[in-house]
Point group: C2
Chain length 212, copies 2
């Protein structure tokens, strides 16, 4: 048997992620899908969490870093960075969950580069380093939250699950709830890229407005 | 044996969540902690997902709805709503994950009320219904993403895990990476409430700027 490389484990893990989703990804299943003993995986990753950390960093590859965001103005580059991050998350099933559960805690080199790129853009625009870092966290967390919501909805639709049982709402509120349910369903069926671009541009407006 | 009520199951599930976290919450463990047979739980909830849906809706109780956001201007009320949602998520371990994995997909009455309250405020402020709904999704997803990041970091710190192995970054970039690592660590040790309030106010500025 040829030696199992870390890259092979990661590629196999991403394939399994796409096929089965994050909850179904286990070291045992991954070993089976790679036709190796579990011990061969543990040589590279101590546990599922270490594997998911590495998967998250692999997902974030080439999102940030020098030259990745074009040569537009700082806000155009920040928009491009957020779009690139979103595309990277959407490229794999449960991608946003994979990155969220690890990015804020540890973070490998690629995850670091995403934050660094955003923070450097904001500092160059004129923000103090602390505010630039806070806004970076907010931007990344918005991208993660929005994309996770979209992927959760996709999973839900794919499973064809019935709506959750509605617990009782005050009865004189029924009309308003029903009106909002219709609005929400209509918004959820709109193009998610368009929704994302709209909300991102609103957040960027807020950032521009705060420039010292 | 007295009959097990749905409320008892939910309360027991939230206790178990606080003690063990979302990943360790299983129907089997919950039955054991409540000193009942698993069948008694399945009478109320078909599976863990149905249980988590109900937990999410319980977490969102009293966050939105008539009269919950005070009598300030629409942007003050929207800020208050976001703060209330954040506090509700922080009240339970992994609270943000519990809500994120279900809120966008199904959503019970309380989750619905959070979105409805935000959307009604934005429509009253002057936004068309579609944009009001999109901004509501963005606001909720930002709160969820930011709070999830904070709770993920807390879990990470509590476990006392070592940093993830750094994969190789281009060597001429080392100084910049190290500078950003220090900035990030400093920002992560700052008051999370203050960071949240700052980024939220920036997003609200962007929303005000877009008022038709």
């Amino acid at each position: 048997m040829t030696q199992l490389r870390q890259e092979d484990v990661l590629s196999g893990a991403l394939d399994l992620l796409d096929a089965e989703g994050l909850d179904a990804l286990t070291m045992r299943r991954l070993a089976a899908s790679l036709h190796v003993q579990a011990g061969a995986l543990y040589w590279h990753f101590d546990c599922k969490r270490a594997l998911v950390d590495a998967m998250a960093d692999r997902l974030a590859a080439d999102v940030g870093g020098p030259g990745t965001t074009g040569d537009g103005t700082w806000d155009e580059q920040l928009t491009e960075l957020a779009m690139r991050l979103r595309r990277a998350l959407l490229a794999h099933r449960d991608g946003a969950r994979v990155v969220t559960e690890t990015a804020c805690a540890a973070g490998g080199a690629n995850t670091l580069l995403v934050g660094r790129t955003s923070t450097e853009l904001l500092i160059a625009a004129g923000f103090p380093p602390e505010q630039a870092t806070w806004l970076t966290f907010a931007l990344i967390h918005y991208v993660l939250g929005q994309t996770m919501g979209e992927q959760a909805r996709a999973e839900f639709v794919a499973r064809g699950e019935p709506r959750a049982a509605q617990t009782a709402a005050p009865s004189d509120e029924d009309d308003k709830n029903e009106a909002y349910r219709r609005l929400r369903a209509s918004a959820q069926s709109a193009d998610p890229d368009e929704q994302f671009a709209y909300a991102l541009s609103v957040f960027l407006d807020g950032i521009k407005h705060r420039l010292p």
